[in-house]
Each structure stands twice: as structure tokens, then as C-alpha cells.
Symmetry: D2
Subunit: 346 residues, 4 copies
């Protein structure tokens, strides 16, 4: 199957190239970029020499549709809006790694993304929130996937079982997110140069991170009640990896072991979610380069508060890997095809 | 004034040497170590060549008392217990960086430190919890300082103003701690080798960290009610630095700016506490190598939850620096003497 | 085909597990470890959960031979000596990632490794130095592969074309090696804990590194004259990756471009060696997680000195990857089978 | 004494502020910046809050001369040229951390810096190359100091004793430089963002680094013969620190110990140069934050080649620290005033 990648020269785009190069059913046909066109991708990223040497091109929806059956968008907010409707009309499947089609209400989008949403509602309604493990059934028939944000993926996979089983008081959810710097992309910003980042932790976008509304939307969708969470993001001096430490008050006292068993049962047929045994907590390195989401559970019985540790590789399960997992679901392939990378350790 | 350092070859010991070497009123007279005796400190730490070349010695309380007026303990839990009583009897001032004398109740100590507390109560009662900014008056006349833990220092300086002003619901406190690896000391543990730590975040000692009881003790002491907090610690791939992100529900709605003003007033005469303006959050690098504690404040008005970001250098304000600050207070010297190091940036 | 890994719980062993898990023709049948036996590998390395959960076992040559057709040794110096002869006698193929069978003269081994070599010469002579690109023909029929050291691999792939083409004065070779810390293994040594390594570069084993004799042996073997090199190794604060910067005087003036062309021709049919264009130098990250060796060339025309930059992932092309490449050669499989991992970037 | 800093908002400028804030004889009177004027320095660098809160200003030579007796230039190449002559005419002392006045021949400057040198020769001749330990006598009476480049400082302090004692063949010098990323400054370049740098080593500016001509000039000046060196620079994933590994053939066989003794004697009265004992090599961390240059020596007796390891903190001895050391020399103060910072370790 022939695919195109729009925004191919960012880190998520390059991660798509890495994973799709090893996917047996897919051929990358076109790399689209408006900032670096007319350059071969391996000039920009020499590690791709001999692996993918396609030229980056400027391209309109029409040209993309002519060569590809499926299009991945690894673009900044606001870009996919302008291309997806025409591609859908032409029968192309779209998997959008940006936030453009994640939120059901355009106003919520405009409020959190600080930019207009200009697409007709019919297109927005075609979008399925691509949290593979949770929405598998609707993903199967989707033509447009709104691939979840990295923080949202780690948070929701960690939190949703507790929500669905009614274990926690929804008013008490606090999420402390910790991300590697690759999540900030490859653009040249002073705040992201090595000397500013290395050797320090910093909190950023406190209270205004654009992944908050999609987390709240999905919790509400599952719980049936509107919920607001406290969500704080921190930049960690590492390139890849993400941990969400999630806190919530238990509605009823329960031992750690019981909740671990519940989680293991919840995820028993999921290849990419691994729940740790009691007393063991996942480390971000343990999923590096892979599509796994690893989860650890602890109940602080002194205060009846549940602590959930959820880790992913932000560029894989938090972006390119989950996008490919969703593609596999749509096309009826085994969900793990092309995603069997063993975590790189150490 | 002549001082001795017991446990001089660990990271806190070496940090005491760094800072005391630049202190105008102090002379380091003796370095005590039981693991590395009969070696010059600059053989173990070549960076001290030409700065401090004393030999490490095994020494009993009697020998220490003969040469020093004040003794710093930079020792693992359990060591200072065995030496402090005799030193106090001999009129020596003791500043203990370990946890041995921090907790008022021996049973609490034994429960969290998993080791016996064998000292008579009269000695324990001489100990003053050395959080300089909060307990300055009692520190002035103390003969024994229980220097706070690093996490406790960052947490309490961030949290106590809100507690004292009655801003928050004490039952809702969640503390997400993030520490550099130097806090784990210099001993050769597989889990702390570079390849295991670099490129990853991990949660550790969840629910069992020994700084929890001192945090709760000091909150209770100020608030007048027993309080239990949820406290989770994370290891960050950086050498120095510590951040505590503290969450608590506000008792009454208040804007961020109001609470920042309250904090600035609370700390207005404190040299070592800097409260950031609205929208600016401290980064651990901004205090690196210095005795500062920097604090940022945010109110998530959607959920009326207060987020406090508190950062220190774990080896300075979290250990050796605050110990020296306490020494300065005891001896009536300006509190900043020997502690005017500008943060190293970048 | 069934294989066993001896020394499976070190970093090279775990890297073999990572790569062999993705190899279509191989099944890992037994993991041998004397230090951690009776524990499942995924208890020690949770990232392997669901991927490889074999138990580590103590095992003698006989037991290993019963279950495996090929044995990888990822053991410290001195171990494979004791097992290889018996395995060879039983018809098992051995690929030894340690240094035990690399040096043709037992005395050279004993001098550089500071330990006795106790094997009969007939076994030593069976060993083929497994630098795949150079010794492919002899590897094809080998029963025992002495897999090259990581520094030797990076150095020789960078240097041998110039040696073979007679471009350089062999008496002027200086090699400045730079390695990530994973090369030091996983054992708990104080000098390798994070806080000692992070933020610094250090030179180590100057003039005594055990990879020196194999480098000199292979140069001599190709050049036909005894050669001695200056070789200095540095530890870099990164987990994976290795760069050798190689300097040598040109015998005759030549422009950079000419030598690049010569190198490209030399390696034109080699999948795993990529020679950069003029003015571009490889970065260790560009081969991370992959079996590539990337090479950059520069001639300083002012002094007629050639500078060669050669980078590998020390755990892949420098250890487990090249071992598998050699297995592929022996078994007549395509050399890239199981080794098509795209470098992880960033 | 009142000083001004031009280029105060770069890393060298901020390091000058850190060190000068602790200098007893100096007051920082003016911070000049053309890129960030009208902002307080502590808005750009919050770590300076309460320490230095001066506003950055655009300023001409005249205004600078009115308020300061001495001016530090921490500017990119090409800036100080335009201001220094007028300041010298007004009797102001100038210490230039940039390369503008380091090279005796304008043509050499233009060739390596790729920009014109527009100053009259009389001004250039006033400049003294400020390698404090070597040129102390001429520095004492200088009005203009050309502060050495960081690589040049590490290289020359390591190499000059061997040159002066005639130990080495000058035609065989190879310098392998390794620098932390702070040397690349604070500007927002894609190649310097964290995700590009972390986890990798890269060689850069091979054969064209602008510190080459000043190294060659100073060697020639001491040796009395023109000399050309091979000099290659590498970027290391650390913020601060620099190591130069220097290789040269010995003219006569000598044991390591003899050369170490010669070096110790050469530097016996130098506070800031520490020569390690045999078998011990300096690590960059051992000088971090301090003005030391630490040197290790090894003779590879197999090939009669000398290896010298020289480490500095690139921002201190390689920039701001040596500038202050030169100021101390000029003003007849003790050379260590304001420079007694103990290295930060770990």
C-alpha cells in the first residue's frame, strides 16, 4: 500500500519513516514538506542514507491523492485542517498526528489552540479519536483518525481502567507529566538549545497545555460526566520518553494488589500495554523505541490515594507508532505488524 | 573556628568542603571517614587538589571533640546517633545532615528508617529542625541541628506559607518530587550506573520515602493538626537539582497574583528564597551550586487547585548549604557568609 | 535454528536478545549466566517482558551443546576459553564477543589481558577474526568467530582502506577513541555511577587498552609489516555510541575528494558501511541502534595529514550486531537478515 | 573599580557577571547588548535575580568610557574591532574575549574568520595575548588584552612546556579537542537543540577552526619556528568543560615520570595549573566552575609518543575566568582574587 507523509521532516515524520521502512505492507511514496522542499530527506537526516532517500516536496491535496492511498499528517497544529477535507472527499484515508481533529467542539479547539477551526462539522465528525486500545471498534471503519497527543495517550491508558471501573473520585485527579525534549520538535528555539535544557527540570505550559481538553473529553466520554483535571507538564533532560504520574483519591479502600489484578485483566489481550507487578514501577527507558505503554500501580493506604505511573516513548506510542497501529487496525492487519521493535536498552 | 566533618567522603561531605573552604570564619580541622581512612581527600577527589588535602581519619567522639568546636555529620542514617550524645556532653555543637534527629518520636523514626533509635530522649529533645527560614529563632540557641532532608526543604519552603495562611485544604496535598542523581550518593549500586539512569525517568520509593514523616511533622506543627500527604519521588537524569511540584485544593478561590504577593511578603526578608512573578516558573538550573530556593505559583482556576513549583540544589540548600546557613545563625554571623555563590548557569 | 547466549544478562547479551528476537531464522533456546541464574531475564530487564522471558541458567558446555546449534558468548575476558573447546569438539558453532580468541599469539593475550590463556593452540587457530566486511570469505567456513572489539571495529573499518591502498605512513597513526558508557558494562562500579560520569569527559586506560593489540595485528596482517599505533580512549557522557577519530600522515598529497571516492569504491557493495560526502562528518547518533558504520574523511592539506571519523553503535556493529552479521555469513543467509533496524533518531 | 561588559547576555557575559559579582574590588557599572537592550539581565536570566539586575543597554564607546575604567568584550567576532580603538584613545583598559585582536597579522584574521579586519595596525600592536601563565610580564602593562580562545588555552597550557623544553618534534603535533556545548553560545540554532546533541558526539569545523592560527602563532613565538598542527574539534553532550588530548612524537625517549616532574617544575608557582601524578588523568568535571587547568601526562614508550591531557572549564579559564585573572595582573591584585571558586563536584 502506498502512503504519503505530510510534515516528513519533523521528528514525528522521521519516526514514521523509521517504522514504515520496516513495515512489510507499506511503501512510502511521497514525503511532503513546505519548509524544506526540494531536498532529499537523507541530506537533512543522514541517518536515513540508504534507507529512505526521497525528496521532500511541496504538494497540494490533489497531488498527494494521486499517489497515496493513506496520508499521515505529522504537522503542527492548523495544517491538516486545510488538507484533510479534500483528501477525504477523494477517498483517501487520513491519520492526523496533530491536534486538529481531536476535539469534538470547534470552540474548545479554538480556546486551547489559540487558532481558528475552519472545517465543516461533517468532516470533524468523521474523525475517530485513535486511542487504539480503547476505541478499536470505531477505528476499524474510520476514514479519518485523530491520533491522540502523547501526554493524552500516557494519561488515558493509565487512567481509563480506574475511571471505567469506578475506582476513583473524578474530582481529585492530578496528572504530573514528564516529557523528553523531542516532544518540543526540531525547530530552533533558544529555550530548547542543549545548554538551556541539560542538567535541569522545568515546568512549562502550566494550566494551558493543549492536551488537557482531549484528556478531559475522553474521561467524560467514558465516565458520562464532565471532569476537570489538574495537569502539569515538565521537560526532562532526555531526548525520548514520557511518564505521567497520576494521582486520584480512591472511592473505596482497596489494596494495591487488587487494583493491579484489575488492570491486568483490563489489558489482558492488549499486546502493547504491560502492567507491572506490585512494587515494580516502569522506567521510561524500558519502552524506548517501542510501541509499549507500561503501567505501575500503588495505593497509598494511609490516604487512600491511587498513584498510577504510565510510561511511553513519546515518538512511538505517543505519535508515529500508535498512528501505524491505527493503520493496521483499519486495514485488518495484525496490530503489531511493523511494530515489533524491542525496546532499546540501555 | 575549627570544625570537623564526619562522613567527609560522600557527596554532601565534599560539598561541605567546597563551601567551607570559601567561608571566612571557619577552618576545616578534621575529616572523618570510616570507609576510606588513611587517604588524603584529594586522592579520592582530585578536584580538591591544592584546596583541601587533609587525610581522612577514623575517629571517635573524643578525638573529634579535642580538635573541633563544631561537627558536621554528612553520614548515612544511623551513624550520628552513635556519636552525637557524647559530643553534646562535651559541649560540641553538632549539625547533623542525616535523618537521625529529625523526627520527634523514635517510633516514627524506626518505622520509616527501618532501624533502631537508641539515643536517650533528652538528646533527641535538644535537636532543632534546621529549616533556617522557618525555625531561625530556635536555631539561634541550638546545640544540635537536625538539618532537613532535601525533599523536605524544597517541599516545606514551597508549602508552609500556604499552610500558615490557611489557603489550602490539608487533606488534598500531593507532592511530586524530582531529584538529580547525586541525592543517591556515591556508593556503587548497579541501579545508579550511568547507563541505567541516562535517558530515563523513574519513580522510586513510592509511599515509603523517609522524608515523608518529617514533611508531615512540620506541616502538623505549623497547622496544629495531623496531616498526611501523598509524596512520590522521581529520579531525573541530571546530577544536581531538585524540584517539588506541589498540588493542593484552595479553600477559597484566589487568583494566582494574590497568592504570589502573599508569598513575596512572607519571604520578603529572606535572602535565599526568591518568588517568581506570575507566569514564570523556576528551573532547577537557576539555583545550581547556590543556596537559593526559588518558588513559582499557579492557580488553576478551573479546579481551584494551587500548584507550587519549588526548586533547590539538593546538595546546597538541600544539604551542605543549609547546614552552613544554620551554623551562621547559631554563631550570629550574617546568614549569607560563605554562601554567596552565584548559581552556575548554564 | 536454536541458539544459546552465554553471559546473557550483560548489555551485549541483552542486545543479542533484542536483535535475535527480531531475526526470522533463529530461536533463542537458552540463556546462560553464572551471576544471576534462576531468575527470568525479564525480572532483571523488565523491558523484555512479553518478548523474552527465559530463565537464566548456570550451564556446562554439555548442557549447552544439547540444546543449541550455535552459541554466542557475551562474557568477560577469560570465560569463553573454558567452554569453547568442548563446544567445538561437539560440533557447535561459537561466536565469541569477548577478546579470548582474537589474538593469534597467546603471549600477546596474556600481556594485554593480564590473565593466562589456557587453550590448546589448535583451538585458537580455528578462530577467525570476525570483521565481517574484511574477512567475509574466511568467516563463511568458520566454526569459531572471534568477534572484534568495539574500538577495533570502528578503527579498522575506518583505517583499513587507507592501509590497503597504501595512502598513509603507518608510523604516524594516532587513534583518539570516544565511547559511550554502555561499553563499560552493567557492573556496579563507583567510577561508572551517573553522578561521576554525567557532565564530564575522561580519558582512561591510556596506552594499555586491550583493543590495541588486535588493531595492530589486523593492520599488520593487511600491510605486511608490524605496526604500532597510539590509541587513547575517552569516556563520553552518553549511553551508546562510539567514534574513532583517526589521524595519519599521507604518503603523497591527495585531495579529500579523491580519498572519499576511493573509500566509496572500496565499500561500494557493503550494506553496513556508509561513506559521507565531502564536508559532512558522521555523528554517533546517526547509527544508534543500528549495525551501520559511518565514515567521514578530511585531508588537512596544510600538513598532509588524513583525518578519518568512524562511528558505530558500540553494542550493535561493535558487538551483538556484527556477531549476528557473522552468523548470517556462516549460514549463507542474506547478511542483513535481522539487522535492518533503522537508526533511532533523535 | 567600575567595569562594563559588552555582550553581557551571552554565556561568557553571564559568566563574567557571576565571577565579578564575587570580586571584592570590582563593581559592574554597565551591561551592554545590542540584541536585548532595555531588558533587565535577570529577566533574561532569572538565576541572577537579587544578584545583578542591571538593564541591558545599547551604548556607544563614548557612553561606555564615561562610566567604566575597564571594559570586557564578550562579543562575537567582529564587534570589538569597532569599539576598542576609541576606548583605548580615551584611556580605557579593554579585555577582549573575542578573537579580534589575537592574531598579529590581519591577513591571518581575515583568512580564518572570513571577515575584514578594519583597525589600524597601531591598535592591533597594543594587544597582548592574554595567556596569563605564559605572558604575565607583558600583561602587567597592557592596555588591551586579547583573551585566548578556549581551545587555545587548553592546548597551549598543555603543550607549551614540552615545546619550550624541546621535548617534541613540532611537525607531529595532533590535537583532538572536545568541548561542552556552551562553547557554541546561546543563539537558537537547530544543530544545537537538545535533541540533536544529546546522546551523540560529533566532529565539527574540521581543519577550519578559528583557534588554529592562534595556537600555531603562540607555538611559533615560543619555538622560534613556524609550526602547523592538526587540530580537530568535537562537540560532547555536556554543557561545560573542555579537554584537549594532544599527541606528539618525543625527540628523545623519556619516561612518563620524568616529563611529569618537568611539568610540575614548570608550573610550580602557578596557582591555576595542576599537574596530575603518573597514571592519573584529569576529568573535565574536576575543574567545573573554576579557573583551573589540570594536566595529565603519558608517554607511550612503544612508539615514543607523548600524550598530554589538558582540561579546563571553557567558560572560566577558557573565557571569563582568565579575563579576570588578566585584570588582576594588570591592576596588581593577587591573581586569585575573585577566582577562588572550588570546582563544583559532582
Amino acid at each position: 500500500m502506498k502512503v504519503a507523509i505530510v510534515g516528513a521532516n519533523g521528528y514525528s515524520g522521521v519516526e514514521l519513516i523509521r517504522l514504515l521502512s520496516q513495515h512489510p505492507h507499506v511503501e512510502i511514496e511521497k514525503l511532503v514538506s513546505h519548509s524544506s522542499s526540494d531536498t532529499a530527506i537523507n541530506i537533512i537526516y543522514p541517518h536515513l542514507t540508504g534507507i529512505c532517500e526521497l525528496e521532500l516536496e511541496k504538494a497540494e491535496a490533489k497531488q498527494i491523492a494521486e499517489c497515496a492511498e493513506l496520508v499521515f499528517f505529522a504537522t503542527p497544529a492548523g495544517v491538516s485542517q486545510g488538507l484533510v477535507p479534500e483528501l477525504l472527499d477523494k477517498g483517501i484515508t487520513c491519520i492526523d498526528l496533530s491536534g486538529d481533529f481531536r476535539l469534538k467542539h470547534p470552540k474548545t479547539y479554538e480556546q486551547w489552540y489559540k487558532r481558528p477551526f475552519t472545517v465543516e462539522k461533517a468532516y470533524l465528525e468523521k474523525g475517530v479519536y485513535g486511542l487504539s486500545e480503547i476505541n478499536r471498534e470505531t477505528i476499524k471503519t474510520a476514514q479519518l483518525i485523530a491520533n491522540p497527543g502523547c501526554y493524552a495517550t500516557a494519561t488515558l491508558l493509565g487512567l481509563l481502567p480506574a475511571v471505567q471501573m469506578g475506582l476513583i473520585d473524578l474530582q481529585t485527579i492530578v496528572i504530573d507529566g514528564k516529557s523528553g525534549v523531542s516532544g518540543a520538535g526540531r525547530s530552533a528555539k533558544q529555550e530548547n538549545i542543549y545548554s538551556e535544557i541539560n542538567g535541569g527540570v522545568k515546568a512549562y505550559k502550566i494550566g494551558v497545555h493543549q492536551h488537557i481538553p482531549e484528556i478531559e473529553q475522553e474521561i467524560a466520554s467514558l465516565a458520562g460526566v464532565e471532569t476537570q483535571v489538574t495537569f502539569t507538564t515538565h521537560l526532562i533532560p532526555m531526548t525520548r520518553g514520557m511518564m505521567c504520574t497520576i494521582y486520584a483519591r480512591l472511592r473505596e479502600a482497596q489494596p494495591t494488589l487488587k487494583i493491579i489484578e484489575d488492570y491486568k485483566e483490563y489489558y489482558q489481550s492488549e499486546h502493547f500495554v504491560r502492567v507491572r507487578d506490585e512494587g515494580i514501577y516502569p522506567v521510561t527507558k524500558e519502552v524506548s523505541g517501542s510501541n509499549y505503554c507500561d503501567i505501575g500501580i500503588f495505593v497509598d493506604e494511609r490516604v487512600q490515594r491511587l498513584t498510577i505511573i504510565s510510561v511511553i516513548d513519546n515518538l512511538v506510542k505517543g505519535a508515529a507508532g500508535q498512528a501505524i497501529q491505527n493503520m493496521n487496525i483499519i486495514y485488518g492487519w495484525d496490530e503489531t505488524v511493523g511494530l515489533d521493535q524491542v525496546p532499546i536498552y540501555p
